[in-house]
């Protein structure tokens, strides 16, 4: 009995020591050099609490989907893309939970491509370990620890004017859309683990008054009719909103010669503009978000809009000109 107590006490003290050490090793900022992983999606941490109403999760498909700054400019909606390359579904779940502590999301959109990436079986356990003992994730920072790390207080100062949208989405590489979305009544089913994660996310959103939407960005590489059928079936069963842009490419006038960055894998800015136009209407028609345009506490978003226009403003004007020419003819 004495040995059992000794062992328990040993591990309790070890746990306490590791918690204390974790506090030192956790990056105290979200700047590029601070050591926080997935730099891109962590820029949301620099935003004021409870100012972002819509979050997009997913892998690389997510950050060439809708354009947060266009949503802001056109409708005054605040949104952020918190996807990262290679994100797996358990990660999406964890990000939803963690960021919900800082932001009062009204809508969470999950890009569907991530649903087929469960990650290894041990991943959830790893993520729990990272959450409980961040030293296991940030231990490599022993080489770059600074005095400020011993301050123990986090202060996130970095934000992204594009709110997570890809900074280099202006390339064009046409796609071969032969056979793309050819009709099939076959079903490509989501894995059991994937379904479990989605149900957990859906229940979490319901419990926190968040509208949970699954979205599939047009892609000739990653999507097909069988996946659409499988996803639609699951969403119908679970009562989850599913917007499959792959079924709306005609309506959106997606041009596979111009609207893709890399031969059909991802959209580019031109494709994203079309998606965002549709999405804005959807959000407005369903009264899912409110405009913050007239709220002076969101003035930073107008400053960020200017930065966005410097990068992509020209592309929007091109699109408007094209549309104007088409309407005139």
């Amino acid at each position: 009995m004495k040995n059992v107590i000794k062992t328990i006490v040993f591990f309790i003290i070890l746990f306490i020591l590791l918690v204390i050490i974790s506090r030192i090793f956790i990056p105290k900022n979200n700047t590029d050099d601070a050591g926080l992983d997935s730099y891109g999606r962590n820029q949301i941490l620099g935003e004021k609490d409870n100012t972002v109403d819509l979050m997009v999760l997913g892998n690389s498909e997510s950050f060439t989907s809708i354009i947060p700054m266009k949503l802001w400019e056109d409708c005054g909606y605040t949104s952020y893309i918190c996807g990262n390359p290679g994100q797996v579904l358990p990660d999406s779940m964890q990000i939803l939970y963690e960021l919900s502590q800082k932001q009062d999301f009204k809508v969470v959109v999950l890009e569907a491509n991530v649903i087929y990436e469960d990650g290894p079986l041990t991943l959830p356990a790893t993520r729990v370990l990272y959450h409980v003992l961040p030293i296991s994730k940030y231990h490599d920072r022993w080489k770059s620890l600074q005095i400020r790390d011993f301050d123990l207080k986090e202060e996130y100062t970095s934000t992204d004017p594009l709110k997570g949208y890809f900074h280099r989405a202006d390339g064009i590489k046409p796609a071969d859309a032969t056979g793309y979305m050819a009709y099939s009544d076959g079903i490509f089913d989501i894995s059991k683990r994937g379904k479990l994660y989605l149900k957990i996310m859906n229940e979490y959103c319901k419990a926190n008054d968040i509208k949970f939407i699954i979205m599939s960005v047009p892609s000739t590489v990653n999507w097909n009719y069988e996946k659409h059928n499988g996803m639609q079936k699951f969403c119908d069963e679970e009562g989850i909103e599913f917007i499959d842009f792959n079924m709306l490419t005609d309506k959106l006038e997606i041009d596979w010669n111009k609207d893709t960055l890399d031969g059909g894998d991802h959209m580019n800015i031109y494709g994203s503009i079309k998606l965002t136009d549709y999405f804005e209407e959807y959000l407005s028609e369903n009264n899912l978000l409110q405009s913050h345009k007239d709220d002076s506490s969101y003035s930073k978003w107008n400053e960020d809009l200017e930065d966005y226009k410097k990068i992509y403003g020209e592309k929007h004007r091109e699109k408007k000109m094209e549309k104007h020419k088409e309407n005139s003819v």
Partner: protein, 530 residues
């Protein structure tokens, strides 16, 4: 699960086996260990488990057959005259030898075919090319079951020990199966002797608190070596050895030292884990390392490095070869011609040659492994040949060989010689090894260090500082062990604050400085490839 280092092994497989072992009644525990061993083997090598089962079956049958012959002999010589006894014994010895040779050759044959047929046929094809012959052999590519080089030698030693009547043949197939496939030793040894290990395996005493904590401490120490040094150095070593043409002799030297360090940390670290696991189950698995870098000669080195392989070769190749009639005759003739010192050296050279050819080949099927074996053979023989001359010089110069400076010189010299051997061992072929060695001598410089480029090939300055710190810690621990002090027992006697501080320091060092997580690709146990 890929090895003893994986989290699934350390935090799932092992705890489940330990708990199950202690829940079960004592007489059934060995069965759980066997089941766990086969499960472990299956997880690593899948269907190739058939090889270890086949080896067990051959070993079991071989042992029983040899023992049956001995029993028959014993029955026949019971009431017989001395002269008649001798004849009967010789007759049955011949029979035993035939079966022993047969079974050993089958066991060895499986190893040879799987491991060496590709190498042999590649060289035959090269010869055919030299003689301008059209015909070529297809080079087979066999999948090798994990640990085949280890359990084959273990099985052969069992058969030989039954033949020599050092041990009785095991009647229970399952127990013999456990001896051959016991999961802590199956992957990288040590190569255990039946007489040392078997009884402990089925004694199956309960895991006491001390065994559990001592075992865990030993495992943690192995993890310390693996996670702080082995994986950390791999990128740098791979870069230097793959692209040696791009670097100067200074880099060759750094690569050479780091590889030797990596190999030692990996293998001895694995042994720490293996021995620690054995302790938990009450099995004293033999040590495989005894502070090898305190060796004062190459011969000394091989009594401290991979000890169980060395003793296997000593007991089953060196002694049998050197005690053959032919060798005895050579010794006698040589003594008459070249004196009582050099005479026996010739005979032992023959036996040593056999040992070192086998040692080199055991490590791998390539010319650089054969070179590795011959390199150490040459050093050992040269040391023996020049020993009288060196003693004379020491006498003339009044060198005190017990002086700490002289011992230091011997240790440094031996370490350098070992490192050179490891350079060839690791090199990507004989030609690469020669080129690297030449560069080290003819193009040596400190340029990479002076320009700071040394820290841009996978190891930065903090990594080097850490490695030096770990070397320092291992050095101090080795010094203490060299004095015969059992460190864990000494620590166990200290007060709880000091004890727990050391344990926490060890665990926290592994967690902070360990090479795991994103961006790290763990290196598979190096000796598992042999």
């Amino acid at each position: 699960m890929t090895s003893y280092w994986s989290l699934s092994f350390l935090f799932a497989f092992l705890p489940i086996v330990v708990i199950g072992y202690n829940i079960l009644p004592q007489k059934h525990r060995w069965k759980l260990l066997l089941l766990a061993s086969y499960a472990f083997f299956w997880m690593l090598s899948g269907k190739l488990i058939i090889y270890v089962i086949a080896a067990t079956a051959l070993t079991y049958i071989g042992g029983r057959v040899i023992e049956k012959i001995q029993e028959k002999r014993n029955a026949e010589i019971k009431n017989v005259e001395k002269e008649e006894k001798k004849k009967i014994k010789e007759k049955y010895l011949k029979k035993q030898r035939i079966f022993l040779t047969g079974f050993a050759l089958i066991l060895l044959g499986i190893l040879v075919v799987l491991k060496y047929s590709g190498f042999a046929l590649t060289n035959v094809n090269s010869l055919l090319e030299i003689f301008n012959l059209e015909f070529r052999f297809d080079i087979p590519k066999f999948l090798m079951p994990i640990g085949i080089s280890f359990y084959t030698l273990q099985a052969i030693s069992y058969l030989i020990d039954v033949y020599k009547e050092k041990i009785k043949a095991e009647r229970h197939f399952g127990k013999l199966a456990l001896f051959i496939s016991f999961f802590p030793i199956i992957m990288e040894g040590p190569i255990c002797r039946y007489s040392q290990t078997a009884e402990q395996l089925w004694k199956c005493e309960r895991t006491t608190y001390q065994r559990l904590t001592f075992g865990a401490q030993r495992i943690a120490f192995g993890l310390f070596k693996k996670y702080l040094v082995v994986d950390r150095t791999n990128g740098f070593i791979a870069e230097v050895f793959s692209n040696y043409a791009n670097y100067d002799g200074g880099m060759m030297a750094v690569g050479m030292f780091l590889y030797t360090l990596q190999l030692y940390m990996d293998f001895s670290g694995t042994m720490d884990v293996v021995i620690g696991i054995g302790e938990i189950f009450g099995v004293n698995i033999p040590e495989n390392f005894k502070q090898p870098f305190f060796s004062k000669s190459i011969s000394d080195f091989w009594t401290r490095w991979h000890i169980t392989l060395g003793t296997w070769f000593r007991d089953y190749i060196f002694y049998p070869v050197s005690l053959t009639n032919r060798c005895k005759k050579i010794t006698t003739a040589a003594r008459k011609k070249i004196g009582n010192y050099y005479g026996p050296v010739i005979a032992s050279a023959i036996a040593l040659f056999c040992v070192w050819i086998c040692n080199g080949l055991w490590h791998g099927s390539d010319w650089n492994y054969i070179f590795f074996g011959m390199y150490h053979f040459t050093l050992i023989i040269l040391a023996k040949l020049f020993d009288p001359l060196f003693k004379k010089i020491q006498g003339l110069l009044h060198i005190n060989v017990n002086n700490v400076v002289y011992k230091g010189f011997q240790i440094v010299r031996t370490t350098l010689l070992v490192c050179v051997g490891e350079l060839f061992f690791r090199a990507e072929g004989m030609q690469a090894g020669i080129e690297m060695f030449k560069k080290m001598i003819t193009e040596f410089s400190f340029n990479e260090l002076q320009t700071g480029k040394l820290f841009t090939h996978g190891l930065d300055a903090p990594d080097f500082v850490l490695i030096l710190a770990v070397i320092g810690i291992i050095f101090v621990i080795s010094l203490i062990k060299e004095k015969g002090i059992n460190i864990r027992e000494s620590i166990a006697k200290k007060n709880i604050v000091l004890r727990w501080t050391l344990y926490y320091a060890l665990i926290i060092a592994i967690i902070i400085f360990g090479t795991y997580g994103l961006g790290y690709v763990p290196l598979n146990p190096m000796y598992a490839n042999f």
